[in-house]
């Protein structure tokens, strides 16, 4: 870290308004060369607007941006790219059917008169991958066949080919496994050492702490704190983010566990899972840990009847009922929260009321018709209960922030009056305030005697709210025991297929 060196990028009092919304109310921060700088803030704090200003999508209303000491006013994203600002978005932007080489050089193909110079194309792609220490990737393979983590490396290599001065990464780890995250961090470290300034945006505070040199906290569109990462406690950052004390976001509230509601016995799907045995009891929060691709999502989908069950048994309330379609599962009181909020979980161009009540119109429908006023009233009830920030229940759900959208998706299960909740990554990509609210909602459900199957890649939350945790590895539950008997270290060991010390038998203890 070179503090005395001239600043690579400076933002001074940047402001931006959209109509009545004051999205940025004065953001100032600076990034030096060879520095990893984390931007931290709740959803809606202004991070994405800030990034759009930097990458030339929006022009700031007030304030200045300096790049290498010179005023920087990008008129469009292309201009910003040429000036040396590279952006890696949360959703990968690759052409899945093109090869790694073609993707890395896409839009920048070396050549003449429209004919590409394949040799040069290859060598410059390879060069970029070498910088990332990933020259061993199969250069001619279509990107579609790579893992998400590898695709991300390709995406970074593509950014590198234009020799960026500043690389902005927006939530790069949200769909990566622990191992891949560590690998990515190594790559980011290499970039820093080669002189690139990295602006890193993430919700995972522990990650930010691990990787970054300096940080800036955004709240309500303004920068409220900045400093060296080494000299700050996480609690302080959280306090800056939310503007209030948030000592324990995991509510540990007493609830009693009763009879089994959902039993999976050696459940197997077509490809995944291979053999899952879980006993989910009334009032229990059962967490499923494991790497991405271990078959956790597929387990929930098979339970819910979205994927076919190849073998094994599912019993609900002690009665065997292995094969069913989602409608039947819903009628049995099972609700599934999809991990893919945007692609599967919600009807993005419909309003809140429809999204909330879709699975159970029968609550108010008369002879196949829906009295709109009652539908809106019902929706409003859930909106109030879940503290969703919205104008009215007839607002389109696409206008809401991620956290509020997720609350609506969960609200649908509540409206459905589900008894068994299958929650797939319910807190992914949402702000910390919404997270805390979802945790307390889940524990409230447990107190009411509902059963919750909770899939998550974020170990602290699993350890924080679950009664029991099972770890999946390659389509099987490898170990399952009370949460109090797990540590993060043990969970990771089992998830990556290593033996842990003193492996306990896969039985339930009483919590």
């Amino acid at each position: 870290m070179t503090r005395a060196a001239p600043k690579r990028l400076e933002m001074i009092g940047v402001q931006k308004r959209f109509g009545a919304t004051h999205a940025l109310r004065g953001v100032s921060f600076e990034v030096g060369p060879s520095e990893i700088h984390t931007l931290i803030g709740e959803n809606g704090a202004g991070k994405s607007t800030l990034m759009k200003v930097l990458s030339g999508v929006h022009a700031p209303d007030e304030g200045r941006i300096l790049l290498d000491g010179k005023a920087f006013k990008p008129s469009n994203p292309h201009h910003a790219r040429l000036a040396g600002i590279a952006m890696i978005y949360q959703e990968l932007n690759l052409a899945p059917d093109l090869s790694i080489v073609e993707n890395i050089t896409l839009g920048d193909e070396p050549g003449r008169w429209g004919w590409r110079d394949t040799k040069k194309q290859r060598s410059s792609a390879l060069e970029a991958l070498e910088k990332l220490d990933h020259a061993s990737l199969p250069l001619d393979k279509p990107v579609r066949q790579l893992s998400i983590a590898e695709q991300q490396i390709v995406e970074i290599a593509r950014a590198l080919i234009r020799q960026p001065k500043v690389l902005i990464m927006d939530e790069p780890t949200s769909s990566l496994t622990q191992v891949d995250v560590q690998n990515l961090f190594r790559v980011i470290g290499l970039l820093r050492d080669s002189g690139v300034s990295v602006v890193y945006i993430s919700h995972f505070l522990e990650e930010c702490q691990q990787i970054s040199d300096r940080f800036t906290v955004l709240r309500d569109g303004a920068s409220v704190g900045t400093g060296d990462m080494k000299q700050v406690e996480l609690q302080d950052i959280i306090r800056m983010m939310v503007g209030r004390e948030m000592r324990d976001i995991y509510p540990r509230r007493q609830h009693t566990i009763g009879d089994p509601l959902l039993e999976l016995d050696k459940l197997a799907g077509k490809r995944k899972p291979r053999s899952v045995t879980i006993q989910l009891r009334k009032g229990e929060i059962y967490g499923i840990a494991g790497l991405v691709g271990a078959g956790r999502t597929e387990t929930l989908r098979a339970c819910f009847g979205l994927d076919r069950v190849a073998s094994g048994r599912i019993a609900i309330h002690g009665k065997e009922n292995t094969h069913a379609i989602p409608r039947q599962r819903l009628d049995q009181g099972i609700g599934l929260l999809s991990e893919n909020r945007k692609e599967e979980g919600l009807l993005l161009n419909r309003d809140l009321a429809d999204n909330l009540t879709l699975t159970r119109f029968s609550a108010f429908a008369r002879m196949g018709f829906i009295p709109r006023s009652i539908q809106l009233k019902t929706a409003q009830k859930w909106i109030d209960k879940l503290k969703v920030k919205t104008r009215s229940p007839s607002q389109s759900i696409s206008e809401l922030s991620g956290g509020n959208q997720q609350k609506i998706a969960i609200g649908r299960l509540l409206h459905h009056d589900a008894e068994i909740f299958l929650l797939d990554e319910p807190t992914r990509g949402i702000d910390i305030g919404s997270k805390a609210q979802i945790y307390s909602l889940i524990s409230e459900l447990a107190i009411q005697g509902k059963a919750i199957l909770f899939v998550s890649s974020y170990l602290p939350e699993l350890l924080g709210i679950c009664d029991t945790i099972g770890v999946m590895y390659r389509g099987e539950i490898k170990a399952s025991r009370p949460a109090s008997e797990w540590t993060e270290h043990n969970l990771i060991s089992v998830a990556v297929g290593q033996s842990e010390d003193q492996t306990a038998p896969a039985t339930h203890g009483q919590c």
Partner: protein, 328 residues
């Protein structure tokens, strides 16, 4: 009803455009024709209004069904062929001395059958609607020609011939029965689309099929229902087509499916599904009807009409895109 609590200017403007965009389009088209002094006295007469309505009815009836399909994220290219087939079926039944009521019922059922076949193939084999209905377009057209022995079918004078008859061509009233039927069905469909569970499911499926499945909607069953119901409308449109010509004609309504789709799209529906409205569709059909009638009365050649309607389609969708672009 929905009460927008917050009344920021932008919000209302958007809602306003969404609700009244096609209506403005219609008013604009009428206003343009009223600019011509020689057209004005002929154009604004009850008789002409009746003529336009009568000419629009077949497209509008088909478009009621097509709206369902397009909102659900599908498309039906066989609509024109089904109209021709149904007109032949109607003619054949009447020649064979079926009671008119029976003939009506069976003709509409014939359309429904084709729709059910389309829907079953699309839902059952998860095939792309474009391809399936493209195939059905040929099949239904061929079947129509086969059933009609490659010529028109001309039954004797019967009550069905009068569904579209303008009793008094010079006055607006009485409107032909067919116009009334379409108006009533349109009102019914507005209610179904807006307030019925089935209607919500159609929007849900078109908006995101995966979500619909996740929410326990029987997607396949509902798709079959959608195409079948649309088939009934195409069958009815065929019946009206028969009545208009008072003969079954296997070569009629070529390209009608595109006019029907255009009406739906001008009315604000998106071909990617999830949005659209019956009222918009009806206005879309009227816009095209007025354009056609106006330009033929201006003695513009048909190619002018075709060019104008083409421009209107692109404009309508472009405006829609622009409007939605502003929202986000």
């Amino acid at each position: 009803m929905a009460s927008a609590k917050d009344s920021s200017v932008q919000f209302n403007w958007k809602q306003f455009l969404n609700a009244f965009g096609p209506l403005f389009g219609l008013m604009l088209v009428i206003a343009l024709f009223s600019l011509s002094p020689e057209l004005r006295p002929v154009f604004f007469t009850g008789g002409n209004a009746k003529l336009i309505l009568t000419q629009t009815v077949i497209v509008a009836t088909g478009a009621l069904g097509m709206t369902l399909i397009i909102v659900s994220g599908g498309i039906d290219l066989s609509a024109g062929s089904v109209v021709a087939l149904s007109s032949v079926v109607a003619g054949n039944l009447l020649i064979q001395d079926f009671h008119p009521a029976t003939a009506i019922l069976l003709t509409i059922l014939a359309g429904g059958c084709i729709g059910a076949i389309n829907g079953s193939i699309i839902a059952g084999f998860r095939m792309v609607p474009f391809i399936v209905t493209l195939g059905m377009m040929g099949i239904a057209r061929g079947a129509a020609k086969w059933m009609a022995n490659n010529q028109t079918v001309n039954p004797e004078e019967n009550p069905l011939n009068r569904i579209m008859e303008p009793v008094n061509p010079l006055a607006l009233w009485p409107l032909p029965l067919g116009v009334w039927i379409t108006m009533i069905l349109a009102l019914l469909m507005i209610v179904v689309m807006k307030y019925s569970v089935f209607g919500r499911y159609v929007f849900a499926i078109g908006s995101n099929e995966d979500t619909a499945r996740l929410c326990g909607i029987r997607v396949r069953f509902n798709k079959i229902m959608i195409y079948t119901l649309a088939g009934f409308f195409f069958g009815l449109a065929g019946l009206m087509q028969y009545s208009r010509l008072t003969q079954g004609d296997p070569t009629v309504a070529i390209g009608l499916e595109l006019e029907i789709i255009a009406a739906v799209v001008i009315g604000g529906a998106s071909l990617s599904g999830g949005s659209g409205s019956i009222s918009g569709t009806i206005l879309g059909a009227l816009i095209m009807g007025v354009l056609k009638s106006g330009s033929s009365q201006m003695n513009w050649p048909t190619y002018m009409q075709e060019i104008i309607i083409g421009i209107v389609i692109i404009l309508a969708v472009g405006l829609d895109k622009w409007r939605h672009g502003r929202q986000t």
